[in-house]
């Protein structure tokens, strides 16, 4: 457990020092999005990497959070914090309700059902023009405020969002090292064996699905208040796939893997700007290379690299896994 605290402290330190390295400007704005994507990836990894249940509809929960907060604050003048909580509760109840029928499905069928849900929600965002503003989007969402301070700059938003990210990461680490985490991995491996040990697999799957949906929803609310303008295009099917890529590239079943995957996939397109028109080709090539050579994800690949280095320098012990 002490090693877990050490890892978390190291991660928190890197996060807190990151703004100093980029000295403001555009890249700081990108780091804010790294934070939001980290939330989403960690949420999805709890479901996919630990419980072994796929979801291709995560963007829908993300969008529901964004539109929930956006509509309630911009059109109805609610307090943003109150709107965030209301959206999270509503999405929680919704996910719990649809979780029972949907999570009876397995494998490809579960993928199809969650995909369908994502598409339905996407259509609602586009077509309920009176409420959501339709394809042209919803402007005028206020920034969050706390104790007389408005989170209107990138630096303020950076610390706000990353405070939430670090809290969620800490809670997620705690969860996966608990009795519940063990039970989730057991369901992943063999649902029948888990059930005959007394694990209520059906309920637990729905609970983790709900948990992951609520995390996505909160990420959506934070996104809405940060960018102050939202449109359906950000919450489509391709974004669900992007999240899936983050989780898989980072490493299934590793919380820090998701942090790493989210950071890499958010920063990579920015770094590849130098390739100009060819950036998408290089991006695709890197994804293929990573899945081929690091099938266990970046985290496992990093571990392998370290053990290779250790072999090069014999006699230097230590535990890096």
């Amino acid at each position: 457990m002490r090693r877990e605290w050490f890892k978390f402290a190291l991660y928190a330190l890197i996060v807190l020092l990151a703004p100093l390295c980029v000295n403001g400007g555009y890249l700081l704005n990108v780091l804010v999005f790294v934070g939001i994507n980290t939330l989403l990836a960690v949420g999805l990894n709890l479901l996919l990497g630990f419980a072994g249940q796929i979801s291709l509809g995560q963007a829908a929960f993300y969008g529901l959070g964004a539109y929930g907060s956006g509509v309630l604050t911009a059109s109805y003048g609610w307090n943003p914090w109150l709107a965030l909580v209301a959206a999270a509760l509503t999405v929680g109840v919704l996910a719990f309700a649809i979780g029972f029928p949907i999570l009876k499905l397995k494998g490809h069928y579960l993928a199809m059902a969650t995909l369908g849900f994502g598409i339905i929600v996407f259509i609602v965002f586009n077509e309920y023009v009176d409420i959501t503003g339709g394809p042209s989007g919803l402007p005028g969402i206020p920034n969050l405020t706390a104790a007389g301070m408005t989170f209107d700059s990138d630096l303020k938003n950076f610390y706000l969002i990353w405070a939430v990210v670090l809290t969620v990461v800490l809670l997620a680490i705690n969860l996966v090292h608990s009795r519940i985490g063990r039970a989730l991995r057991a369901i992943h491996d063999s649902e029948v064996a888990a059930r005959v040990l007394g694990v209520n697999a059906r309920l637990l799957k729905v609970q983790i699905f709900t948990c992951s949906a609520v995390i996505s929803c909160i990420a959506g609310s934070l996104y809405a208040h940060t960018v102050t303008f939202i449109s359906p295009a950000s919450f489509g099917f391709h974004f669900s796939i992007e999240l899936l890529t983050m989780v898989i590239i980072g490493g299934l079943g590793s919380i820090y893997g998701s942090c790493l995957g989210a950071a890499l996939l958010t920063l990579l397109p920015e770094m590849l700007r130098t390739f100009q028109d060819y950036d998408i080709v290089v991006y695709g090539f890197l994804l293929v290379a990573m899945t081929m050579f690091l099938p266990g994800g970046l985290v496992q690949g990093g571990g392998l690299l370290l053990s290779q280095l250790k072999r090069l320098w014999p006699g230097r012990g230590g535990n890096n896994a």
Binding site: R179, A186, V192, A194, L197, V199
Partner: protein
């Protein structure tokens, strides 16, 4: 009084009638074996008791209480644990995680950690090889060790009835002997009641007090194990004795 009693139980897999009017009982402290060929319904019977494959009709009672409507979790809570066929240990988890998962419901009931810890130690005493490998992933264990782990995991729930599904499957004769020795010790020292499903009819009947013979979903024979061992029908069909003709070209 019977600890576990099945009366006229019928189980279906879709259109397949897998258990046909099966009746069976376990007395407290007994070892009862269920033998039969592949596809006779032995595993189905265990899964029906565990409520993983619920019965369509009939009556299943545990200590006099009907348990047919229960969810699998409730069955474990009542004190019936299954060691599933093919071991089904959680391969990506460590040996210790596997054992602690066996005590899942006890953790949930907030039983004192100390008691669970003590039981964990007891499992390591029962299966010393698991102690050596406690931090190892379960998938890296040998078949025999995985079987021991699966039994240990089920015992962590502190069951009164243990349902064992073919613990000898794919194991070397010496390892089978060791595992059967443990089953005998569990019954003798801890008073655990055992329902043992086996293909290895001879070893199972030697270990058990009573036995049932299942054929295409029906109980065709039942009785004291020693008598079943001598039964010509059983000897011919399951022990390979007194073959009238030997087919070979």
């Amino acid at each position: 009084m019977e600890l576990l009693k099945l009366k006229n139980v019928n189980t279906w897999y879709g259109a397949v009638h897998a258990l046909k009017n099966v009746s069976l009982h376990l007395l407290p402290g007994e070892i009862v074996t269920l033998i039969g060929a592949n596809g006779a319904g032995k595993t189905t019977l265990l899964n029906t008791v565990s409520a993983v494959t619920p019965a369509r009709d009939g009556d299943i009672r545990f200590a006099g209480e009907p348990i047919q409507q229960c969810e699998p979790e409730r069955i474990v809570e009542l004190g019936i644990s299954q060691v599933p066929e093919g071991r089904q240990v959680f391969k990506p988890l460590t040996v210790e995680d596997n054992l602690e998962l066996g005590a899942y419901l006890r953790f949930r009931r907030r039983e004192p950690r100390k008691a669970i810890r003590a039981d964990l130690e007891e499992m390591y005493t029962l299966f010393p090889r698991l102690r050596e490998r406690r931090k190892q992933l379960a998938g890296t264990l040998s078949g025999g060790e995985q079987q021991m782990l699966a039994i240990g995991r089920a015992l962590m729930a502190k069951p009164t009835v243990l349902l064992l599904d073919e613990p000898s499957m794919g194991l070397a004769p010496l390892v089978v002997q060791e595992i059967f020795g443990v089953i005998a010790a569990l019954s003798r020292d801890k008073g655990v009641t055992v329902l043992l499903v086996e293909q290895n009819a001879k070893a199972a009947l030697k270990l058990a007090n009573r036995g049932y013979v299942l054929e295409t979903g029906k109980v065709i024979l039942e009785g004291v194990a020693a008598e079943l061992l001598e039964n010509p029908e059983v000897q011919r069909a399951y022990l390979g004795k007194d073959k009238k003709e030997i087919w070979e070209r």
